[in-house]
C-alpha cells in the first residue's frame, strides 16, 4: 500500500495521462449531471412547490394540465375523500409577456398559474384579481415588484406584487395568481380553451395528517374513474418529455461511466503488464496477490479521486461563473456525491480486469523462470 502511494508521489508522470483523461470524464459527468438537474429544475418547480399529497387530472389527460378539465361535480366527489378544505383548483396558461422597456416583439415566456391551496412560498390567500407573485427567475428579464406584465395577444395586464424562488414550469418563469385571474386571462387570450366558473385544469389534494397513503386510488375510486390521480413525484415524472429527457441524459452518463471503466481497465492493465517483473519480485519477497492488487486499486482510486476533485471544483466554478439563466445548470450535493461515487466504483471495477493478471504472476518467475 505504502509502495503504491510512494509510486504515485514519486512518479506522478506515469499516471498523468490516465489522470488527465479521468479528469475530462469527471468534468463531463459533473456537467451532464448539472445540466440534467438544471433542466429538471426549470421544468418541475411549479409541481415540486406544491404543498400537497396528490394532483388529480381528468381521466385520459395523461398528467397534462393543458389537456385536463375538471368540473364541480368531480371536485365534490374528491372532496368526499379529504374534505372541502383539502382540495384546491389549479389552472395554467402559457403566454408571452410584454414588459415596459422591452421591444413589442421581445416577449418574456411565462406561465400563469391560478391556485387555491397555496404552494410553499406563496401567500395562503391567492393575490387579488390582476395581481401575481412571479418566479424569481423573471427578475433577470427585468421584472420587478410593481412591474406590469401584458400577457398574450390580448395584452391582459397583471401586476407583480412579489417573488417566489424555484417555481419554474416547462422552462418558463411562472406567475402565480388566483383562479379568477387565470380564468380571465385564459378567456381573453385562448377563447377556445375558456374555462367556465367552477372549472379548473387539475385539483391539488391535501390529505389530513397521516392519511396520505393510498390517497390517489381513493380519489379515483370516489370519482368513479373520472380522474387520474398522481402523487407529486409521479406527476413530476409524468411531465411531458421529462422522463425521456432524464433517460437520454442517464444513458449518456452511463456510457461516460463505462468509458471511465474502460480507461481505468486499459491503463492499469497496461501498467500491470509493465510491472510484471516488479510484482514477481514482490511476490517472491512475500507479498500476497491481495497486497499487490490492493496497491493497483489504491492507485486507481487515488488517481480517480484527484480527477473527481478537479471535476467537482470545475463544476462549482462553472455554476458560479455562468450568468444565471443562460444555461440551465444546477449543482446539487446529491448529484456531486453520486457522480463521484460512480467514478470511484468505476475505478475499482476497471482494476478488476487486472486482477487475473496479478493472480497469474508467478513469483517463481522472478528467479530465472520456472523452467
Amino acid at each position: 500500500m505504502k509502495l503504491a502511494l510512494r509510486e504515485l508521489r514519486r512518479r506522478p508522470n506515469r499516471f498523468a495521462v490516465a489522470g488527465a483523461i479521468l479528469t475530462l470524464i469527471a468534468l463531463l459527468l459533473m456537467f451532464l449531471g448539472g445540466l440534467l438537474d438544471g433542466l429538471e429544475r426549470g421544468s418541475t418547480g411549479a409541481l415540486r412547490l406544491q404543498d400537497a399529497d396528490a394532483i388529480v387530472f381528468a381521466e385520459g389527460a395523461e398528467a397534462s394540465l393543458v389537456r385536463s378539465r375538471i368540473g364541480e361535480d368531480v371536485r365534490s366527489a374528491v372532496a368526499t375523500v379529504v374534505g372541502e378544505e383539502g382540495v384546491g383548483g389549479l389552472g395554467s396558461v402559457q403566454l408571452g409577456a410584454r414588459l415596459d422597456g422591452r421591444g413589442p416583439r421581445d416577449l418574456v415566456p411565462t406561465v400563469l398559474l391560478g391556485y387555491e391551496l397555496a404552494p410553499r412560498g406563496l401567500p395562503a390567500e391567492p393575490p387579488a384579481a390582476g395581481e401575481v407573485v412571479a418566479d424569481a427567475s423573471l427578475r433577470r428579464e427585468g421584472v420587478e415588484e410593481g412591474s406590469v406584465l401584458r400577457l398574450g395577444p390580448a395584452r391582459s395586464e397583471v401586476r407583480v406584487i412579489g417573488f417566489v424562488d424555484d417555481s419554474q414550469y416547462a422552462g418558463q418563469g411562472s406567475l402565480w395568481g388566483s383562479l379568477e385571474t387565470w380564468r380571465e386571462v385564459l378567456a381573453a387570450n385562448r377563447p377556445g380553451a375558456r374555462a367556465g366558473e367552477g372549472t379548473v385544469q387539475a385539483l391539488v389534494v391535501r390529505a389530513p395528517e397521516g392519511e396520505g397513503a393510498g390517497l390517489t386510488d381513493a380519489v379515483d375510486e370516489a370519482t368513479g374513474g373520472a380522474t387520474d390521480s398522481y402523487t407529486i413525484t409521479e406527476a413530476i415524472d409524468a411531465l411531458p418529455g421529462l422522463s425521456q429527457q432524464r433517460s437520454v441524459f442517464n444513458q449518456i452518463i452511463g456510457v461516460t461511466i463505462v468509458i471511465a471503466i474502460v480507461v481505468v481497465a486499459l491503463f492499469f492493465a497496461l501498467l500491470t503488464v509493465e510491472r510484471t517483473g516488479l510484482y514477481g519480485v514482490l511476490k517472491a519477497l512475500g507479498a500476497s496477490s491481495g497486497t499487490v492488487f490492493a496497491g493497483v486499486v489504491l492507485q486507481a482510486v487515488v488517481v480517480t479521486a484527484g480527477a473527481v476533485a478537479i471535476g467537482i471544483a470545475a463544476a462549482l466554478a462553472l455554476d458560479a461563473v455562468i450568468p444565471a439563466g443562460s444555461i440551465p445548470f444546477t449543482i446539487t450535493p446529491p448529484r456531486l456525491v453520486t457522480s463521484a461515487l460512480s467514478l470511484l466504483v468505476a475505478a475499482v471495477v476497471g482494476c478488476a480486469f487486472s486482477l487475473r493478471r496479478v493472480l497469474r504472476i508467478d513469483p517463481a518467475a522472478a528467479i530465472g523462470g520456472a523452467q
Binding site: M1, K2, L3, R6, E7, R10, R11, G277, L278, V281, L282, K283, A284, L285, G286, A287, S288, T291, P363, A364, A366, I367, G368, G369, A370, Q371
Partner: protein, 241 residues
C-alpha cells in the same frame, strides 16, 4: 549439545512439469542437506533444474514428491498462502537482475520486506540502517537505485535479502551482470555477510570463481544432483586463487 536444525533438508524431491500429454522431470529424487551456516554453490547448465531446486528450497514452488524442510520447518504441504508467508519471514532472495524497486531509496528498498508483512516499524528501520551501515551503504541510504553503481545495487539487494533475518538466502546468479573485479567483491561480501551471521546460502551460478568461496559445490545435471563432496577444510579466507 544439540545441533541446530539444518537450514535446508530435501529428501527424495521430485518436480514434474506437465507439457501437453508428456511431462518434464525438472528434479529427480534430489536429496540435499545444508547445515545452518553452509554456503553451497549450485552449478549446472541451463535447463538442468537448478532454478527449480532453488525455487523449491525458497518456498516459491511445491515439490511434486518428496519432503522439504527449511530451518527445521517442514514446508512440503504448505498452501500458496502459507508459502508466501514463509518466504516473507524465513527466506532471503537475491535475484539475477537485482530488481530493486526503482522509485524507492536504498533504505526503502530494504523496508519493503517489512511493509509486505506485519510491520515492525522502528525495529525494521533500525535494522535497515544497521544493514546499510554494514554493507558500506550508510551514505547511500537515501539514494534511488538509478544513482547507484552495479555493485552498490547488488549490496542493497543483499541487504534486502537479510532484512527478515532468514535462515536461508538464495542467490540467483549474483555475479552474472558484474565484471570480474566487482564480481569478486560481491562474492567476497556475500561470504562475509553469510559467515558473520551464520546464515546458510545457496548460490546458483555458472561462474567458477564462486565455487572457491563456497563451502561445497554441487553440480546438477538433468535434475539430478552430483554431489562431488567438495568440502573445503577451512572455509574462511580460502579459495581466492
Amino acid at each position: 549439545m544439540s545441533q541446530p536444525a539444518p537450514a535446508l533438508r530435501m529428501e527424495g524431491v521430485r518436480k514434474v512439469y506437465p507439457t501437453g500429454d508428456d511431462e518434464v522431470v525438472a528434479l529427480d529424487h534430489v536429496n540435499l542437506t545444508l547445515p545452518s551456516d553452509e554456503i553451497l554453490a549450485l552449478l549446472g547448465p541451463s535447463g538442468s533444474g537448478k532454478t527449480t531446486l532453488c525455487s523449491i528450497a525458497g518456498a516459491l514452488l511445491s515439490p511434486t514428491e518428496g519432503a522439504v524442510e527449511v530451518g527445521g520447518q517442514d514446508i512440503t504441504g504448505f498452501s500458496g498462502k502459507e508459502l508466501t508467508r514463509f518466504r516473507r519471514e524465513s527466506v532471503g532472495f537475491v535475484f539475477q537482475t537485482v530488481n530493486l524497486v526503482p522509485f524507492l531509496t536504498a533504505r526503502e528498498n530494504l523496508l519493503v520486506v517489512d511493509e509486505l508483512g506485519r510491520r515492525t516499524g522502528r525495529k525494521a528501520r533500525e535494522r535497515a540502517d544497521q544493514l546499510l551501515e554494514e554493507l558500506g551503504l550508510a551514505e547511500k541510504a537515501d539514494v534511488l537505485p538509478g544513482q547507484l553503481s552495479g555493485g552498490q545495487k547488488q549490496r542493497v539487494a543483499i541487504g534486502r535479502a537479510l532484512m527478515n533475518e532468514p535462515q536461508l538466502v538464495l542467490f540467483d546468479e549474483p555475479t552474472s551482470a558484474l565484471d570480474t573485479r566487482l564480481g569478486d567483491q560481491v562474492v567476497h561480501l556475500i561470504r562475509d555477510e553469510m559467515k558473520s551471521r551464520g546464515t546458510a546460502a545457496i548460490i546458483v551460478t555458472h561462474d567458477d570463481r564462486i565455487t572457491h568461496y563456497a563451502d561445497r559445490t554441487v553440480h546438477i545435471v538433468d535434475g539430478r544432483l552430483d554431489d562431488t563432496g567438495d568440502h573445503q577444510p577451512d572455509p574462511v579466507g580460502t579459495g581466492l586463487a
